[in-house]
Amino acid sequence: MNAVTNRKLNGAYNHAYLDEQTKRMIRRAILKAVAIPGYQVPFGSREMPVPYGWGTGGIQITASIIGQDDVYKCIDQGADDTTNAVSIRRFFAKVADVATTETTEKATIIQTRHRVPEAPLKEGQIMVYQVPQPEPLRGLEPRETETRAMHAYEEYGLQYLSLYESVSAFGRIAGGAGYPVLVDERYLMSPSPIPKFDNPKLHQSEALHLFGAGREKRIYAVPPHTDVRSLDFEDYPFEVQHFDEVCALCGCSESYKDEVILDDEGNRMFVCSDSSYCTDRRNAGHAGPLAGHVLGQDDPDPASLEDAQ
């Protein structure tokens, strides 16, 4: 934000940016979403100071539920240090004056784009997902008027047909991320573009999962202890991705991996996409084949950053 704007608007924003009436409106939408798991609740999404597609839905949910005692974690692609996650975490540290963490266990609110943390979630934790396209059927039917009717009539034949078509074309159900799920055996739901590797983590989860789509103006939820079933066929059961490689840093063979290109000769390594999980494992003494390798540049001390602005 420009210096002129800052000078003039200093103190002009409410706690956590949104005004209280807007927060109440969003909380009502969240309550409705929790009451009808998987159902997309339309809401009066506001214009936010970050662009659409960059997390406006997730930010509005967080802004509406975050309190002074919360501990906030924000990840993108599983990592706390990706640029947009850093930007959003700093936004809430600034406008909500809230404690932040990179440790999954310590967080009360975890905002995410494209991943569910590897560590099991606990009761009382809230996952907030940034959702680009809340409508799982949109790729099959572009009209909102049609897809709302399909949900109302529980008419999901088109979705199953699409899965069948991919079986016939590829010999298996295609789809790597944003794999459709049926929530509480009623509503078809997009889990947001998390890899299907993460889909099973939503089933009977201890945590509350809230999904916010700012541009599309929809909120939906998976309450704790709710059935979430990834769609499949009896003869083509749902399966998650598996990596043959272990994490080069912590040696983990279970986690979802980022592929890191090391040079222009095709050398690469695989590391845990969940940076907090990988750090915890390394601190606990686990080591991978390239242990000690430093990813990216060192982040400076956050205090010196504040001075620089």
């Binding site: 940016y17 406006t56 640029t83 295609a174 103006k217």
Partner: protein, 378 residues
């Protein structure tokens, strides 16, 4: 070994923003632009930012243009993100555009109309030759004043045609007309009412509406438009505070209004008559206002009894995709990392690729040797 950094850091973000500030300022030996200069001398950019930013404030719009380095869409975004935090006091009285202090008013439908044709400050009929005198600053240009003042009330073209019932009556206000649909507080809903449609079009991207309107002129949803009237000028904004019970003037805004007329050959339910499309924008913007009126008319096909066949007549297509802040954000979010999804794609494509090569080398294809599946795949 070449090293590829994959994680972004806080220092990188901070440095990038400082670099942006530096680039915005440009060569420091050139005097810095003042917001007032932008407001006064780039006034049409200011008008567009106010309109698509949905906030009538020339100073804020000028500040946004300065901060956005002249990127109008970015400036619109800045104004929107500020506007959304402002408190609402209430809804003003409807504008009476017949009481506009007209600066420009032309009709292409009639050679002369009550109130007369007033050209006003227009680029029309100028020769688009670069004026090299503008390289230097010079004395301010002054236009001569008219001898006779413009009438206080200038009737609209709609009221001129109304005597013969040749122009359709504007649709009656909805029962809840006191609370017009507000897209900045309510999500898009379909079918869209007139208030929702006109608000979406007024906030919509000028370029998008221009191209849609142009496409419809070229036959992709022909509306046979004719510019019944276009007028621009200042108009009083009135508001009725609850405690007073009568309207008071709270300010004046400049708007451009367009009534676009289309002929209609009649149907079983309606006599042949002219139908209209409506456009209204803040400030002076005829390109946007006329495009809006043409698109408005095209989207009214159901009321008129036409069969929709083109994109411009599809309200879900038009209203969902006209907002440039939404569009710009979502298109550009592709710059954000997608390595988790890409990894999933990569795994899948590698597996398919491996099978493809194996099938060709071994003469066996695991996926298509089943005749049933092979048939379904075609």
């Amino acid at each position: 070994m070449a090293y590829v950094s994959v994680k972004g850091g806080e220092r990188a973000i901070s440095n990038a923003h400082q670099w942006l500030d530096e680039m915005r300022r440009g060569d420091t030996s050139v005097p810095e632009l003042e917001v007032e200069q932008i407001r006064e001398q780039l006034s049409l950019a200011v008008d567009r930012v106010m309109m698509e930013g949905s906030c009538y404030d020339p100073d804020l719009a000028a500040l946004a243009i300065k901060q956005a380095r002249g990127d109008v869409t970015e400036a619109i975004f800045l104004v929107r993100a500020y506007r959304t935090t402002l408190q609402r006091f209430g809804v003003t009285e409807p504008l009476e555009t017949s009481r506009m202090a007209v600066q420009r008013r032309v009709s292409a439908a009639f050679k002369d109309i009550p109130g007369g044709q007033i050209l006003g400050p227009t680029f029309d009929y100028t020769h688009r030759l670069l004026n090299f005198d503008l390289y230097d600053t010079g004395p301010a240009a002054m236009a001569p004043k008219a001898v006779d003042p413009v009438a206080e009330t200038v009737p609209t073209i709609a009221s001129v045609l109304a005597h013969e019932s040749l122009l359709e009556e504007p649709p009656a206000d909805a029962p809840d007309a006191d609370a017009p649909y507000d897209l900045t507080r309510q999500p898009m809903a379909f079918p869209a009412g007139r208030d929702q449609r006109l608000q979406a079009l007024a906030r919509g991207d000028e370029g998008f509406l221009l191209s849609l309107a142009y496409a419809s002129q070229r036959g992709w949803g022909n509306t046979h438009p004719l510019c019944g009237e276009i007028r621009m000028g200042a108009i009083a904004v009135e508001f009725t505070p609850e405690e007073l019970g009568f309207p008071i003037e709270i300010g004046e805004i400049v708007v451009t209004e367009c009534q676009m007329i289309s002929n209609f050959e009649g149907s079983a339910d309606r006599p042949p008559q002219f139908t209209f499309g409506y456009g209204l924008t803040f400030g002076h913007n005829e390109r946007k206002t006329m495009s809006m009126a043409i698109v408005d008319r095209a989207l009214r096909h159901k009321e008129i009894g036409e069969t929709p066949a083109h994109a411009v007549q599809d309200e879900e297509f038009v209203l969902y995709h006209s907002d440039n802040v939404e569009a710009s954000g979502f298109v550009q979010h592709l710059k954000l990392p997608h390595y988790v999804d890409f990894q999933a794609e990569l795994q899948f494509v590698r597996r398919l690729c491996k099978e493809w090569h194996e099938a060709r080398e071994g003469g066996e294809d695991s996926t298509t040797n089943d005749p049933l599946i092979a048939e379904a795949a075609e």
